[in-house]
Symmetry: C2
Subunit: 393 residues, 2 copies
């Protein structure tokens, strides 16, 4: 692979604008009932019509974000509004908590059993409010954000199956996503809230969850390790995604120490989780090398790989570190040759350990219009910046 | 493979007595805290000490059952009692519901969030009460059985995440396991309860869950199909296991029609779920051929294969059908060549689609001392019966 930033910027730009977005524009809009179809087979055909709140909100986010950061295209704003209205009408229970899923017409199927639906609602409606200038959307965003803050210490509420007191664990997901979400909502939040949440979440991620440059998925409340399945599990994609969230925050204050620490974690995670035999990044690993609980541990997932591309190119742009560039090329070659579907567009989501397609789909219950377009957009912008920097150096 | 029933009986007998049971006898007993270790690596080394109630109860069942049906060996009764005492002391909440898991010393970790812990407790303590003659064990068994009956229409209780009313589904697991459990507890139950539960569960399984000789994992309360992930999923191992439970019941009343119907379902399921390319039985399939929700769908699991061996040899012994024997040989060859560990004993649990070992373990959170010894025992007995029948024919 050549180190041609212009060409790489164009690769991601073309993929985003001519391949990925058209796929979702063409196949995902439910013009009859509102919202989006996300269960799309390889060719874009709808194979299931349930509406999963994470993915509905994430598609609103994607099209709104592009309006805000790239171009105020009215067709994109229409798509975002199409989803936002469906969600505002059907997505919440009477207390304002976001359901997990709805049926096609918007009736609730699965209760609000954790806070991630609320996280993605806050992200979506924040971007949509900014793009549309509509006050009601702003209110929806702020309300969802308050849900997340309120429920962060017990994210599963009454659906928490852990017996109280025997073994307390906290998850990386909560501070990690709260950090990213808070940065996303900067324009809506008082500066004191912003600074306070960012400082606390960065501190928690980089102290409690980090040990010898690996991020643990679950630790005791004081950050110590517990020798059990949950306490031993490493989720490499999660850890790496968290690191670019942290770099994003560190960059605001030009905290180069923190940026370098994040890169160290990314590199260490890749050394730990790269499949030496077949290539690609494992989905789950046990830190002690024991059999993990997750049967899907050796599979290669789209989001793990594209979030890694974002982290590596961001790290490289911010520091010029050669280890970032070396790994970027390796992950780039694997990802583009295995996930991108040259025939029908968009990217496959799930490969087996050997890199063969495991599920012949472009979207489902967990894969929608989010990680692929977001990473295409971010990598494009990073390579534009690198190209510009090279031109003027 | 030769059709030598004597040799096959000996194969299973030797595997059970000289290979499988010694593995658990040697490595699984927690002499310090009580109960059993089930997280054993390939060689038998303990890699996690949590106590999962399903597996604790199932090991009590296995050793008690062998005392009852094979030989009153005092070392087996000691092992059963060792687990039964630990479970009786630590396994239940103040309302008598069975937890899902405990830590090594017996403190509760995961709440009683479904009824399967209670099912396996009823099975375990029924066999143990019969083996030991102890009245307290009998009481524990009956109390657990009452829990199952009481909670069968809402098995997850307050942990049920489904929004009431939008989409009602019922699962095959409940009537299937209740049928098997009730037959297990015949000696403890009034005949009216026995007849009533057996009739209702057989009826429900063979009517509501069956369609064109395939068993659906979830259907609407009236048995109709719902076109959603849960409504489309086929769990071939579950369906086949349910069929030998039904054959067991049908055989009591010499209901040859029902036995033949069960075999038809087993054969149809194998034709549907056999991996034509790499061999073995898939773990999950979507009945319409859509991508299933379960990422582990193409994996080959120990219990699926050994339950199939039991169903096929039982069907063959009861009917002499050649399709049973044809399939028995195919599944036998695959199972014995892929799952049995010639080096360290016992069987691997989890293989990838190609039949390579996916998790290098003999036990974990879901695999314990149950399906392998039960199937070894049952296949041995079936082949003994076939051998006897041949001798005297």
């Amino acid at each position: 692979m050549e180190r041609d930033f212009r060409q790489l910027a164009d690769l991601y730009k073309t993929a985003l604008l001519d391949n990925v977005l058209p796929f979702w524009e063409q196949y995902s809009i439910d013009t009859e009932c509102g919202g989006y179809f996300t269960c799309l087979d390889r060719t874009g055909k709808v194979y299931d019509t349930d509406k999963f709140i994470w993915l509905q909100n994430r598609q609103v986010w994607t099209f709104s974000m592009l309006c805000n950061r790239l171009e105020k295209r009215s067709s994109w704003l229409d798509i975002a509004e199409h989803g936002a209205k469906f969600l505002a009408n059907h997505g919440r229970d009477p207390e304002g908590n976001w359901y997990f899923s709805l049926n096609r017409s918007g009736q609730p199927l699965i209760q609000p059993y954790n806070i991630f639906s609320d996280c993605f609602a806050a992200m979506a409606f924040s971007q949509f409010a900014l793009a549309s200038g509509q006050d009601w959307a702003r209110e929806v965003a702020l309300q969802a954000y308050q849900n997340v803050l309120r429920r962060q210490t017990n994210p599963k509420g009454s659906y928490n199956k852990a017996y109280p007191g025997t073994r307390s664990l906290k998850g990386l997901s909560v501070p990690m996503i709260l950090a990213n979400l808070t940065l996303e909502m900067e324009w809506l939040l008082p500066k004191t809230t912003l600074d306070q949440v960012l400082e606390a979440t960065v501190q928690e991620v980089m102290t409690d969850f980090l040990d010898e440059n690996l991020l643990y998925e679950n630790v005791a409340p004081d950050g110590s390790h517990i020798d059990c399945f949950e306490g031993r599990v490493i989720n490499p994609g999660h850890g790496i995604e968290a690191m670019w969230f942290m770099m994003d925050i560190a960059h605001r204050s030009n905290n180069l120490n923190l940026i370098n620490q994040c890169i160290d974690v990314v590199i260490r995670t890749l050394n730990f989780a790269w499949d030496q035999k077949y290539g690609g990044i494992y989905y789950f690993l046990d830190v002690k090398g024991h059999p993990p609980q997750q049967l899907e541990w050796d599979q290669k997932l789209w989001w793990v790989h594209v979030e890694t591309l974002v982290a590596l190119v961001m790290g490289y742009r911010l520091t010029g570190r050669s280890d970032c560039w070396k790994w970027y090329q390796k992950v780039h070659d694997y990802s583009w040759s295995h996930f991108a579907d040259a025939e029908y567009g968009e990217w496959f989501g799930y490969l087996d350990r050997r890199g063969e397609v495991l599920l012949n789909l472009k979207g489902g219950k967990w894969k929608g219009c989010f990680h692929i377009p977001r990473s295409m957009y971010l990598c494009w912008q990073e390579f534009e910046a690198l190209d510009q920097a090279e031109k003027f150096s």
